[in-house]
């Protein structure tokens, strides 16, 4: 599998080898958008721990291992076949997992149709991606930094015309701009349908989140064909089989 992985993830070589100087963060240590009133520092880990309990550290560890297997971050898009497969959760975990090894990270919410990061992380919804695309605010101002060297760019006030917003998002190289501001970028992509297909293709590397028992196999096969067998993170892989039975099936297969 490792051999296949190294072939599939050839872009991994493009991952940064040196951590960008932390001075970049200076001046925006106060959490919140540039025009937002200064608030106390957000502690994403604490927020998530309160919401999810002790399973969060385990999740970030898993995501950290996954990123290492993929050859390190730089830019990683997180997509899924359908909604509700834990795509945003995995994206957050990946963003949290990165700073220790790869420096500053920005989590970009590209799913402007159904944004969820602001609510999950208790951040301000606007300004965000939509505001940047409409020219209402600069990209740097929209980054909401946390105490973990993780910045978050929420979807912003998208309004109702999300398809026009998505096409503008596709045209503008937001990810490239963010790479100037952080060491790595994690993109919380929309599901792999409609405009989500184009956005996933625009990302240099994509990881697909699959929820066991929910993701249709035919949809995953389509993703595999169109994105050339991208790596997968299986969510809710709750193995009910006893270990000895699992071993037996592995041996027979």
């Amino acid at each position: 599998m490792k051999a296949a992985l190294s072939l599939t993830l050839s872009e991994a070589e493009a991952a940064p080898t040196s951590v960008k100087p932390r001075r970049r963060r200076r001046g925006i240590t106060a959490v919140g958008a540039g025009d937002a009133k200064p608030t106390e520092k957000l502690d994403l880990r604490r927020t998530l721990l309160e919401a999810n309990g002790s399973q969060w550290p385990r999740l970030t560890d898993e995501c950290s291992s996954a990123l290492e297997l993929m050859g390190g971050p730089a830019v990683v898009g997180v997509t899924s076949c359908i909604r509700g497969e834990g795509r945003s959760t995995i994206a957050i975990a990946m963003a949290l997992a990165q700073p220790y090894r790869y420096g500053t990270t920005v989590l970009l919410e590209a799913d402007v149709e159904k944004p969820s990061l602001a609510a999950t992380l208790e951040l301000q919804q606007a300004p965000g991606v939509a505001d940047v695309l409409e020219g209402a605010s600069s990209l740097e101002e929209t980054i909401q930094w946390t105490g973990e060297s993780v910045g978050v760019v929420t979807a912003g006030s998208a309004g109702t015309d999300t398809s026009a917003l998505l096409s503008r998002l596709l045209r503008r190289n937001l990810v490239g701009e963010l790479r100037e501001l952080a060491d790595s970028v994690i993109v919380d992509l929309p599901p792999f349908v409609g405009p989500g297909v184009g956005m996933a293709r625009a990302c240099p590397r994509v990881v697909v989140v699959v929820r066991a028992g929910s993701t249709p196999l035919d949809r995953l096969e389509r993703v595999a064909a169109e994105l050339d067998h991208p790596p997968v993170i299986v969510n809710r892989a709750d193995e009910r089989l006893p270990p000895w039975l699992r071993r037996m099936f592995r041996t027979t297969s």
Binding site: T8, V207, D218, H229, I233, V234, R236
Partner: protein, 321 residues
């Protein structure tokens, strides 16, 4: 195969439920059945008179009890015999006055309630089952009496036919004997004074005398056979073939249900497992979702991480607590 086993472990309650329900239902059915009581009787079987009894000499052939068991088992398949038994046992229940289907059901149930076995070369055992000790005893008694009547009737009918046959043979033998005697007398009178014939005359007399003896033997045999047939007819109800040895009795203690419960439980488990098996087939057949890393790797997509049980489900639980 893996998907089927996984489906079982994913829905253990759903798939065990049919087994539990089936076992509970079959056990409840057995428990709710009315009590059954066992009755029994035995018959003494022997060779028919005037033949010597088989108890005084062993025989390599089938024992009388075995023969009678085969006959009684055969008769228990016959509707007429069952009707006779039913009328003797409980006329109101097995009578033919009611609807035919109901009477048929009752007769088949009656046949199921009777078991026949042998206790040795001469002892035929009749076991019955009934809702009450009295009914079980009545049924055993009815089977016994009906069978004895059937055997006696058959014996008598055969003896009647044999008697007619042996009498006609006796008449013919009697006539042949009279003729032979007349010829001998006539010849003896014709050659009373002796004469030139000498030795030839003696040979004719010897031949005629032999004919008389043969006719006499035939007559005696026919007479003996007729007497035997007459004896059977005159012996009335006791043909000597079967007679009651132990009268019908029944145990006041109901038959234990352990065996039935075990069988019902086994049947329930089997039925429930079949339902579970079909349910698994249905679940797996209609399941088009990815179930784990193995399914993903099967379409040549590398799995870089597996995350166990995280997301809204646990979050909700946490919030609730």
């Amino acid at each position: 195969m893996r998907r089927y086993v996984e489906a079982y472990f994913r829905h253990p309650i759903l798939l065990m439920l049919p087994v539990l329900v089936a076992v509970a239902a079959s056990s409840a059915y057995v428990v709710r059945q009315p009590n059954a009581f066992r009755g029994g009787a035995s018959l003494w079987c022997d060779t028919p008179v005037p033949n010597p009894s088989s108890i005084f000499g062993g025989s390599s052939q089938q024992s009388p009890a075995e023969t009678q068991r085969a006959v009684l088992t055969e008769l228990l398949l016959a509707r007429t015999f069952l009707e006779k038994v039913g009328e003797k046992a409980v006329p109101s229940r097995y009578g033919t006055n009611g609807p035919k289907a109901r009477a048929d059901d009752a007769l088949f149930q009656l046949a199921r309630d009777v078991q026949v076995s042998t206790g040795g070369p001469h002892l035929l055992l009749v076991s019955t089952t009934g809702g009450t000790p009295r009914r079980a005893s009545q049924l055993a008694d009815a089977v016994m009496r009906t069978y004895i009547d059937e055997v006696n009737d058959t014996q008598r009918a055969r003896a009647q036919s044999s008697l007619v046959f042996y009498r006609s043979q006796m008449d013919e033998a009697s006539k042949a004997l009279s003729d032979a005697r007349a010829k001998l007398t006539q010849y003896a009178q014709a050659n009373q004074g002796g004469g030139p014939a000498g030795t030839a005359t003696d040979a004719t007399i010897a031949q005629l005398t032999e004919q008389v003896s043969g006719a006499q033997a035939n007559y005696d045999k026919a007479k003996g056979d007729a007497s035997s047939a007459q004896l059977v007819i005159s012996s009335g109800s006791d043909s000597g073939v079967v007679r009651v040895f132990d009268p019908a009795t029944a145990s006041p203690v109901p038959v234990g249900r352990r065996k039935k419960l075990v069988f019902a439980g086994a049947a329930g488990i089997f039925g429930g497992l079949m339902v579970s098996f079909l349910a698994i087939l249905l679940l797996v057949g209609t399941d088009r979702a990815v179930r784990g890393a193995v399914d993903v790797e099967a379409i040549r997509m590398p799995v870089v991480a597996t995350v166990k049980e995280i997301g809204p489900k646990r979050r909700r639980r946490k919030k609730a607590s």
